[in-house]
Symmetry: C2
Subunit: 351 residues, 2 copies
């Protein structure tokens, strides 16, 4: 019997090119100079093609924020102590974190999922899908086994599909995990061929010396794991983290059901790159929400050939960028649904 | 007796720096690394300082879209015929235009104001404040008299203040007027010292030859009017348009009541620059919504020292960019109102 992961990967198909063409035809008939709503029009056509319906509407948008801990925190790569992970999980689920406020503002449901926080995290609203008490130190060996990574991907698939069964047609991803910019940077290097120096950033705020140290930690992670990077899945297991795998799984699960996903910033982007490496058609279902202030994000997105929608200099994660970009994607779908055509409005065209 | 314009100009005071400082103190106490919500935090502090209240909320956001015609259209600077201005005014007020859809999406009221459309424009919902049947050809002389320009500014002030009396605490501006990128470019050149070649763009879509022609028209406008550019008001009268003056007045009227304004793109930006030249404290009340795909906008915003919030490649005007940026400003205010502090949430700080 096929595993849920393999079944999901085999179900992911490219978006519908005919619908994309029909969406552009509709967009070009609307009362505006052609293309003058810029990236909003691109989003409208992409959403329509993903959903297979020119007039597809956004329903029940939801953000999945995965939390986990990282053995590599022991290398001193973060400015915050690891005890912050469960504290912030509680804050997110009780409504006081950045993503709580911005998801509420966007009218989106927010699910805080503990997929691998190192300590018990039994707070009201935190969904317990804990697979392990964090991952091992990637500077010394693989973060986790391929089997554990597969399980984390399947948690992501299941959590996405629960929301989709409930009627969600737009998902967003978010992350929580002290030190998680380090495994994310390592994943970008491994998947996209960027160097640690151009991919590592300051995370939540490390100084020059710690930045240099962080670069060397990523390089060590790539070196010690170089025998374990033979497939996208192996690479994710060796260099990733449980929340990154959960995010990757969410993207795969959504793409399999033709539901677009708004990818948050640096960490979620690493999960998205892993998903795209597992099945390139996944790219048809990804909106990249914002260009993080994390320096490496600019280089990684360039290497991936992607131009994120927003440039608000966020470097918080949690899904805050995804929450902000929901507004753009849903505005885009309304353009195609609600704007009048030149013929309908009796407006003259170009001379 | 002081005119409404002079009274308004004298009432505009800089935003409250103490409140701005208090807002930053609050922002720095919230459960996120300091500054990690980037430009959202800047917007939050700016809105608070403008309103004079750290916890100021956005209420009844509204967009004022001013429509007018331009004698310079006779020079063949636009790809669309002038008959489009009233047709689009009707389309905007009946809900089918880009700004209609995006204002509705933003939960904002939309007012379509005819301040100088060349032909009768009696459609339901179009507010009739027509002062003239368009302006004269700026390539041959001044667009309008200083007296007419003052009247247009006062229409803008009055329309803004009606909304503010009704409870609006955030306004947005928009424009409608075939050929209006040409006077806007001329205004940027006169106010900011940029050259026509770096300020003129393709508007709604002119080809290479027409672009060259447009640059020469702007240069002619600057040359023939060079004796009439002795004050910000005279410059606006000579090179502007009635809708641009209406937008400028709206910004002045709002700033006088400490109500921030979200400035749309290229044309509204020219109105904002005029307002800032009349009273530099106006800048404390302006949010620049998006960087237009109009090439000259990049140079003009650089010359003004401003980095717009969004980069969605819009080149439609109407207030579409302002409508999209409302979401950012209102999200920003919620950050400051609704996020928990480190102390409230029991989250540990930086090590």
């Amino acid at each position: 019997m096929k595993s849920l992961l393999d079944k999901t990967l085999s179900e992911i198909k490219p978006a519908d090119k005919r619908i994309e063409k029909a969406a552009w035809k509709r967009l070009d008939s609307l009362t505006k100079p052609q293309g003058s709503l810029g990236r909003l029009e691109e989003c409208a056509a992409k959403y329509a093609a993903a959903r297979g319906d020119v007039f597809a509407k956004v329903a029940k948008p939801a953000i999945l924020t995965f939390g986990a801990d990282h053995g590599v925190a022991a290398e001193g790569v973060s400015a915050f102590p690891q005890e912050v992970t469960p504290q912030m999980a509680a804050n997110i689920s009780s409504g006081g974190a950045g993503v709580s406020v911005l998801a509420r503002h966007a009218g989106a449901e927010l699910r805080m999922i503990d997929i691998g926080i190192a300590v018990p995290c039994e707070f009201p609203g935190v969904i317990n899908r804990k697979l392990a008490k964090g991952t091992a130190n990637i500077a010394k060996g693989p973060a986790m086994s391929v089997e554990l990574c597969r399980k984390a991907l399947e948690v992501g698939i299941e959590e996405a599909q629960k929301l989709i069964e409930g009627g969600s047609t737009l998902l967003g991803t978010g992350d929580l995990g002290i030190a998680n910019t380090t495994p994310s940077a390592a994943l970008y290097c491994a998947y996209l061929g960027t160097s640690p120096a151009e991919t590592v950033g300051r995370g939540t705020g490390v100084d020059d010396e710690r930045l240099k140290h962080k670069i060397s930690v990523v390089q060590r992670a790539l070196d010690v794991n170089k025998g374990s990077l033979n497939s996208p899945l192996e690479t994710l297991a060796a260099l990733g983290g449980l929340e990154i795998a959960g995010i990757c799984g969410t993207i795969l699960g959504a793409a399999a059901k033709r539901v677009p996903v708004v990818v948050d910033g640096f960490i979620s982007g690493a999960g998205a790159v892993a998903a795209i490496k597992m099945n390139p058609a996944v790219a048809d279902y990804c909106f990249f929400s914002h260009l993080s202030a994390e320096a490496g994000h600019v280089n990684a997105m360039k290497a991936l050939g992607v131009k994120p929608l927003l440039g608000l200099d966020f470097r918080l994660g949690e899904g805050t960028g995804a929450a902000m970009a929901f507004n753009i994607v849903s505005a885009a779908t309304k353009i195609i649904q609600e704007m009048a055509t030149f013929a309908e409005a009796g407006v003259s065209g170009k001379e």
